[in-house]
Amino acid sequence: MTRLFAWLALLAGCIYFALPLIGMTEFSLKMRRGVYSLDAYRKVFEDPSFWATFGYSLTLAAATIVVGVLLVVPTAYWVRLKLPQARPYIEFVTLLPLVIPAIVVVFGYIRLYNTSSILPLTGSAIGTDFLLTMGYTTLALPYMYRSVDTGLRTIDVATLTEAAQSLGAGWVTILAKIILPNVMVAVLSGAFLTLAIVMGEFTMAALLNRPAFGPYMQLLGANRAYEPPALAVIAFAITWGCMGLIQLVTRLAKHERAKA
């Protein structure tokens, strides 16, 4: 009986996610009255703004991932190795972006770096892009940190470090040859989540007034009927594809090992 209940719960969960998606997809195909067609998708792909905003967000996502990895991997490693008692605090700090609304962060930025401040970053497009990247890094931090930290949990950081040291290795060798290769999959999965977050983010980009994909989606959503669901389906397909890619990488890595 409980087993039945559990399966029902599972089924409910799946429907919970699948229904909106199916409804949306179905609607996006109905642009031409009475028949299913891909007209809405064609319209989206023909819109130059789609490609411009998409490319912009993709670039910023890449920058965000680079900054995030450089910030997170050495920090997480060092905390696990030398400051285990500081872990709860670091974890707390990395969770802050979840509890400080994006609006707050952006307002803070605008107040700090406006055109009349010492560092007038919001005055130029490149400066604002930099600010936005920093904001995205903040948003992605919880996922990136968790992911890397979980990756580090699967290996015995202290013992591996001491083993490498006793064999004569220095810090650079240890980080590059032992630590990074062992958390590569975790880093990739963090990078993917970052990508997904940046592509869908609306608040920051809108408030900093940059031509990102999120605001574009909302704009379309407010003014058109059939294109927005088509867009959403495309976005979903992209993220799904990325996720599949990650799975593939993980599998291949395992397969490679098993074969060797």
Partner: protein
């Protein structure tokens, strides 16, 4: 001058002194065990030799060179850990080659050395496997090969067998000892298992609360313990309260026991005499002059040895006797005679 010299080593964590005035001289090629209960400071001593902990005071000399201030990667030591110390992203061969690569050994030489090492540990065909494809015992053998590959001056073993099954533990400890003897490498082995330490060491350092209680060969440690702690920690002990009669004779429950070594205590005083379970004999026999009655309480069949728990002269005792296929062991409740001799007894201080 000895090969490895540790003098007046101390280590405190905060106000806690975990190692107190530790001194040890190890000869080249010697196999030394640090034995003690958990928290006795044995691992801390090893980690100070490896360079993972900085001594509060004291010096460590290897081959005449003071390495006390050296970083771990400059000490040229090899170390084997409890478990999970192989690099999971590298093959067995790459793991073994790691120390050589770091030290800039050319490729051809490196490969030859790896082949040699894998042969030494009896796994010549597993070079291309990854650690997760090996059993626990195989992993620890590879860890040994990796530690030995760069020809370290000292080999440090930090309870390398504690994560393994009983049977593998015994066979691997013998293998480690053989390889160590073949290579003649100076080795320090940390363990809390007294049988392990006794079985493979040249000398044992028994540690208690940060202090080296006794240093000696397994035979000395077991048969001539100098402190009550050592006597109790190493092996099982039967202790009897006896009265001193004269300088060679003790009285135990009305029976006289003649000691091999002179007794210094005052005649008439009560002292503690100790005997190992194997020094007690089931029944009468030549050379076991004193015979006392006892009642069997428990019989534990352990395989080659049968341990009999009995009550003799008001004291609970343990007696070891070999299994004999033609003679089943006594049963609980049975009254038996136990023979003993002062030759096999020793006295314990307060």
């Amino acid at each position: 001058m000895s090969f490895l010299n540790i003098s007046h080593l101390e280590k405190s964590f905060g106000s806690l002194r975990v190692v107190k005035d530790f001194n040890l001289d190890v000869e080249q090629g010697e196999f030394i065990s640090l034995l003690g209960p958990s928290g006795c400071g044995k691992t801390t001593v090893l980690r100070m030799v490896a360079g993972f902990e900085t001594p509060t005071t004291g010096r460590i000399l290897i081959d005449g060179q003071d390495v006390t201030g050296f970083k771990p990667n400059a000490r040229k030591i090899g170390m084997m850990f409890q478990a999970y110390a192989l690099f999971p992203n590298l093959t067995v061969a790459d793991n073994v080659a790691f120390g050589l690569k770091v030290n800039g050994v050319p490729r051809a030489e490196r490969e030859a050395r790896v082949t040699e090492m894998l042969k030494l540990i009896g796994l010549p065909e597993l070079g291309q496997r990854f650690p997760f494809q090996l059993s626990g015992g195989q992993q620890q053998r590879v860890a040994l090969a990796r530690a030995l590959a760069p020809s370290p001056r000292v080999l440090l073993l930090d309870e390398p067998l504690s994560a393994l099954d009983a049977k593998v533990r015994v066979s691997l400890r013998n293998e480690i000892r053989e390889i160590q003897r073949d290579l003649g490498i100076t080795t320090i082995f940390v363990t809390h298992d007294q049988e392990e330490a006794m079985s493979i060491s040249d000398r044992i350092v028994v540690m208690n609360a940060g202090i080296a209680d006794q240093v000696g060969s397994p035979f000395q440690i077991y048969n001539r313990p100098t402190t009550r702690f050592v006597a109790n920690f190493v092996g099982t002990l039967n202790s009897f309260e006896v009265t001193v009669v004269n300088s060679t004779t003790l009285e135990m429950d009305g029976q006289m026991v003649t000691m091999a070594e002179p007794v210094t205590a005052e005649p008439g005083s009560r002292i503690t005499m100790a005997m190992r379970p194997e020094a007690l004999r089931l029944g009468r026999a030549d050379g076991f002059e004193t015979v006392l009655p006892a009642v069997v309480e428990e019989v534990h069949f352990l395989g080659s040895v049968i341990r009999v728990s009995a009550r003799m002269a008001g004291t609970a005792i343990a007696l070891d006797t070999f299994n004999r296929p033609d003679m089943p062991p006594p049963s609980p409740g049975q009254t038996i005679e136990i023979g003993l001799s002062g030759k096999h007894a020793f006295l314990l201080d307060r």
